[in-house]
Symmetry: C2
Subunit: 828 residues, 2 copies
């Protein structure tokens, strides 16, 4: 393994993070990587997210409280203008922070970085859904104090967060003071305009945009000291969104206490003072409710918060913890992936799935931000990550979550139609990145030009409908997405006759790999657009034949003309898919093979990732990939390529793929497994499973790599499990269990019936765990049907071909006809 190859085993410091298959456990306070642990120990429910900041709010990389979709807008100022560039910047706002509970013992503050800690443990429990911390502190005066805290965001009440801090005097009497706060930290976002990146470096474009001005305007503040209730309401200056945050406090104390409170525009505070004695335990419970809206006055949101809290108070805080546990029991029952006797990977897998559900579970009518609600990286924007990386997990385990996410996309269709007009195109063009539906990508070459997002959304629609049979969604909403995206492809593409035959070409787009941009006939785009065109034609045909009335509605909504259907089928049939017979691979675009090749092997670590150390023009000039492109198309459109083709392409692209994108390792793992690079597949899986846990991209501090968490599930189920969904319920398994693994088992839900699939080295078994239906699928060449009480077992003869090691760099050796591509390290 080189410094930049995938990792080959468990990379975690197990003294600090001991293995627990159901929790992430930390055993010491470590100030050097606070940003990473804030992300790893964040709690969220897809709507509300609380970064893993300590209650004391003193040692922090970034104090963060995020609400999905709660954003400010701002006019994008382009250094040089051009027609149609994105105009409306959108940035998720750091919401008022309810996490703070400061503890003073005899007026001495608890500060982890200086405190004498006799004991420390922090646990994010995947079954209870609660983050807890337990420490023993010896104060400077020698008193010993136990401090325990719990924190969760509720999966059952999406607007609710629960926090507790419990102080026990183990030794000595003391004056205990608890200062609970609700703080609008937005002014931390104000960046001095003078701070420019140091010479030779750049501001990392993947971080969030920061504002140079006040964002949240105070609209409401209130303090009810007796009830322990603090309320703050705000409106954003430009987007006009409103937010209400209300916090309720309950103090359990064995002795009487004094309370003191105050509220200002940007802060509410309640201070409790208790003269406690040795053995006393004092517990402060904070219930927080957050509501946001686009047109509702902040005052009204405060009312909603109060209703949420009243309800929670009625049930009591323990009921919240119980409901959380129940929700997660059900979640794991339908979603868990088990890796018996692989405790490190079992833990990492569950952390990923838990992080994924924390990013998505209660997004409800909102999108899925690239970092969930764990941080503001990528500005809280929604990308194709949602459809291609996050949704497969929910589609096959919690289909309703996918339905909500796709209905959110549907709500952006009007904006996408307008965007197509801006780009001189028919149909709809979904924004590459957005919160409010408008394109927010300020760099079109690696943004707007990624037209493939249209096909990605169509793909997710099709996958969801196929897996669930939800024709209601298809007929009322999904079909409109299919029609408008197909229209875009039919319009942007054109026919070209060459050597006597005619084919359909798509020019001037960027594929998933952002290390070459604005190319002609990007393979991924063409192959997915072909699928999109076919699927749209099939869908409208199905609807027309099966539901004539519904079809009339579709025609009314979309202006669909009969001849369009034929046009789409023709374009799909004539779609040009680049193939180079001499090299025997599919070029990533029409001119990919003409480029010089980047010599990654001799590229030193200090100029990686490439995008942070080279001008885009330099990178674009070479055969070098940020992430899988052809290889991803071959996973998503598995039936369209032979295994031989997949292997040849994988062998060509793998050595020139940097993996500078966290979206790459999971895809490389899946195809490596399919074509026979078993060890490499496992290495890529480790890489993906630990991308955040081991901070493999040195930016976990900016938030969870949500796409990768979803990809971890796909790598297990589709890579090692060998699952492929060929559409319309045609499921197929061709397992690739890694050497040394005893067993892999996972759940899939097909049209309401859930099966549990277990792969061992010599068999695949499937049993119906839930539901009344049958599930039919093939395992390699055998078709079987599992039904309630009727499990199936299919013997496996090995795990496919086996190729050792890694494919070598293809530079210099490729073409038999004397054509050679040289490999270079630019700038050396």
């Amino acid at each position: 393994m080189t410094a930049f190859g995938p990792i080959t085993g468990d990379p975690l410091d197990r003294n600090r993070f001991p293995i627990d298959e159901w929790a992430l456990v930390e055993t010491r306070f470590e100030p050097s990587d606070l940003g990473v642990t804030e992300t790893l120990f964040a709690v969220g429910n897809g709507y509300l997210g609380l970064r893993g900041n300590y209650e004391e709010a003193r040692d922090a990389y970034a104090d963060g409280t995020f609400v999905n979709g709660f954003h400010e807008t701002w006019p994008i100022h382009h250094a040089e203008e051009a027609f149609g560039l994105a105009r409306v910047g959108q940035t998720m706002v750091n919401a008022p922070d309810p996490k703070i509970i400061r503890l003073y013992i005899d007026d001495e503050p608890l500060e982890l970085s200086t405190a004498d800690l006799l004991d420390y443990q922090r646990v994010l429990d995947f079954r209870t859904g609660v983050l807890s911390r337990d420490l023993v502190w010896r104060t400077t005066s020698g008193k010993r104090v136990r401090v325990r805290s719990r924190r969760m965001t509720s999966f059952t009440e999406r607007h609710l967060g629960v926090m507790q801090l419990e102080v026990t005097l183990l030794e000595g009497n003391a004056a205990v003071q608890l200062s609970s706060q609700l703080v609008n930290r937005q002014d931390r976002d104000v960046r001095s305009e003078q701070v420019e990146p140091a010479q030779g470096t750049i501001a990392d474009p993947r971080k969030a945009e920061q504002f140079g001005r006040r964002v949240l305007q105070p609209q409401y503040k209130d303090l009810d000291e007796d009830a322990g209730r603090i309320a703050l309401g705000y409106q954003t200056v430009d987007s006009g969104m409103t937010i209400g945050v209300v916090v309720d406090h309950h103090l359990d104390s064995p002795v009487p206490y004094r309370t003191e409170g105050r509220v200002e525009d940007d802060q509410g505070k309640l201070i409790y003072q208790i003269r406690a004695e040795e053995g006393h335990t004092i517990r402060l419970t904070k219930l927080v409710s957050v509501h946001t809206a686009t047109r509702v006055p902040a005052r009204e949101l405060i009312d909603r918060c109060e209703r949420t809290l009243d309800r929670a108070n009625e049930d009591g805080v323990e009921a919240q913890f119980e409901a959380q546990r129940e929700w997660l029991d059900a979640f794991w029952e339908r979603s868990d992936v088990e890796l018996p006797r692989q405790p490190d990977l079992q833990q990492a897998t569950r952390w990923n799935l838990f992080a994924l559900t924390q990013a998505t579970a209660r997004a409800d009518g909102l999108g899925i931000p690239a970092k969930g609600v764990s941080a503001a990286g990528y500005g809280g924007h929604y990308f194709w990550d949602a459809e291609i990386y996050a949704m497969p997990f929910s589609t096959y385990t919690t289909p309703n979550a996918t339905r909500n996410a796709l209905r959110f996309r549907y709500s952006l269709l009007p904006a996408a139609r307008r965007r197509a007009v801006d780009l001189s195109q028919k149909g709809a063009l979904f924004p590459w990145r957005t919160i409010n539906g408008n394109e927010a990508s300020a760099y079109y070459a690696a943004g707007t030009a990624q037209y493939h997002i249209d096909a990605d959304i169509a793909y997710a629609v099709s996958q969801y409908v196929g897996a669930t049979g939800d024709l209601d969604f298809l007929v009322r909403e999904g079909v409109d997405i299919l029609v408008e995206t197909a229209r875009l492809w039919a319009d942007i593409g054109f026919w070209r006759q060459e050597n006597g035959s005619s084919s359909f070409h798509i020019h001037g787009v960027t594929g998933p790999d952002e290390y070459t941009t604005v190319v002609n006939d990007n393979l991924y785009t063409n192959v997915l657009a072909r699928f999109n065109l076919r699927r749209a034609a099939d869908a409208v045909t199905e609807v027309r034949e099966s539901q004539p009335d519904a079809y009339d509605e579709v025609v009314r909504r979309t202006g669909l003309r009969e001849e369009e259907i034929a046009e789409w089928r023709e374009a799909a049939a004539g779609m040009h898919v680049p193939y180079d017979a001499k090299v025997g691979i599919h070029p990533q675009d029409s001119r990919f093979l003409d480029r010089e090749m980047w010599d990654l092997e001799h590229t030193s670590a200090d100029v990686r990732p490439l995008l942070l150390h080279h001008h885009p023009l330099v990178i674009y000039r070479f055969q070098v990939l940020k992430q899988a492109d052809v290889v991803l198309a071959q996973f998503l459109q598995s039936e369209e390529f032979t295994t031989q083709e997949k292997r040849a392409d994988f062998e060509y692209y793998d050595p020139i793929t940097t993996g500078d994108s966290s979206l790459s390792a999971v895809v490389q793992s899946i195809i490596a497994a399919e074509v026979g690079y078993h060890e490499l597949a496992l290495q890529y899986f480790y890489e993906a499973a630990f991308v955040d846990l081991a901070d493999r991209h040195a930016n976990a501090a900016d938030g969870v790599h949500v796409a990768s968490t979803g990809g971890v599930w796909s790598a297990l189920v589709c890579g090692f499990g060998g699952f492929r969904d060929h559409g319309a319920g045609r499921w197929h398994f061709d397992p690739r269990l890694p050497a040394g693994w005893d067993e892999l088992s996972f759940r899939l839900t097909m049209r309401g019936t859930r099966i549990r699939v277990t792969v061992t080295s010599d068999a695949l078994t499937a049993i119906v765990e839930d539901g009344e239906g049958e599930v039919t699928f093939s395992v390699r060449d055998t078709e079987v049907t599992a039904a309630p009480g009727r499990p199936v077992e299919v013997p496996l003869d090995g795990q496919g071909a086996r190729i050792e090691g890694r494919p070598p760099n293809p530079a210099g050796t490729l073409r038999a006809d004397g054509t050679v591509i040289s490999a270079t390290v630019p700038g050396r």
Copy 2:
């Protein structure tokens, strides 16, 4: 002619602008196009420019006073960051305005837009170099006043401007008040951040960047009322440049007068009050001096201004007007182009040559801004326009001006070396646009990616050295430019073997045509880079053989290694020049012919120019040109292509060239003439000659199209005159006199000897007008030598081939092998 074809004849309203072969004359005040006339009537000397604003400073599009190179810097904020993007914005600053002289008669102000004007004439005289205005005003009280003014920027004293206003009471006595001002108008530059372009429009990227803050910090102010002297000094906030402006006043009055003055940070003012009687003439003379610097305190610049003014005062103002006239007499003697009996084109030609010399004459050690000193369009930046469009005129008529301009480029070589490192390249990469030597192009695709600027500069160096024989410049400075630019090409290009043979390719660059960007093997770039590589190899070989000591110095300065010379020759010999045998043309880049074709014929006027109405991605997807690219290469490297090739290429590209760039028409005119499209050549020439005069691009208000003014000279001399300089003194003429023209004559200076060349329909004659040397050249196949007292006459048999009309759009009809490119109008 369509709305967007070239014009076919004189487009000016000759009632308003009557023809005068030696002046631009305007006969009425017209408020509707003040921006255009401010540009047309601007005066400048290449250093100091005064827009054609009226003295009253009330009716104006933009009050402008510009000093070449006087700029503010600012950090470029990219909407999305990437490594190596331009960081330092540079914008020419509107300098303090000395032009204002307000006239009040009996306290009634003269305001042109409301005044009752009995007579009005404004004249920019190309022989005297003076802008004058003469009007008769009837005041509301019925008095008649004659107001005459003169204004010039001196060609002999580059820091000096002269203004006069003369008032004569034609009827009635009156109280005359003159208020002369010097105003720092910078606060007009402050743009409200709230002003965003209207929906569906964009801020024109060709206009100057405006500041949102104060730029000029007051450093000095003084008023000497008795001497009539006002002085203001400033320093820019970020670039730290300083400017001093001093104005002297002299009032001639037949009666005593009162004076009153004051000076503030941003304004100095002198007010003269005269109780004048009918018949009296009062004349106010203003002498203004401007000095700028990068490190000198403003106070010291004021001293310099005062010395300039003291000298001017000593000689008297009339001496300044005389010196101006003498300077221009000499200028026209060595530079004039005569078109007998073509008064409209004669006037337009002289306006262009006069505007060109106003933009360049006294730039001295500075660059040539795209708009000269007539306005701040394009931020006052220096582009390749200087080398390819402006310098040929000076190289062949005033070589010392080219020498200064190339020495300026040489001074930027250290910055260009650093820029190459930023772009992971060896050698030097000159910035696409700059004032201070740093890249200021914020949009790399149509900026930094235009690496061809390296070859353009090398081309100008070579042209200058060839025409002048100035080996001193070559050996001391020019060769360093050739070496470092050749190094860049050798490094950025790479060898590729294909079909058994090996060729040298340059990928990921943008050619002159900005309607396709970041392409592989752009023809212009490859052909000019080939020239650059060869020329560098030749130059260092020459120096090594003829001046071994000088060669050692070159090696010391540049680290030149022997083997590099061979490497350059090999790269040049192996340079890939795209040619498509099936279509029979040179594609603009490796994939140009694969693109869909834009149907310009059916593209309506309201979506033109294309760049202001289409997203770049849309434009880049098509075969459509902003400006000549292949065709320009065929002009600059004329010997490398056959006439047949030039004709085929011209016929292919001409119908798909929008001419949205003002750099295009002159080139199309030259090649149209060469290949036989005589009428079309003349139409393009009209288009170019009137680009500003008739505001053909609707942005003359933003300044003179300096490149086009230079191109007008090239179109006459190289297009109709058929002149080609094949380097090393090999001059050739193959005239193409337009039908209906009696005669065309022009001057060229070769190694100190000036010849006058006259082309008629049946002969070319040349006489030595100045100098002692002989000039040898060929006319078609005949080689001749002109010497002092020994003119030559070569008979001409016609004007070459003659093809009527315009070439048709090549869409749909091209390929014999069944390959068809379709033509489309995007968005329809």
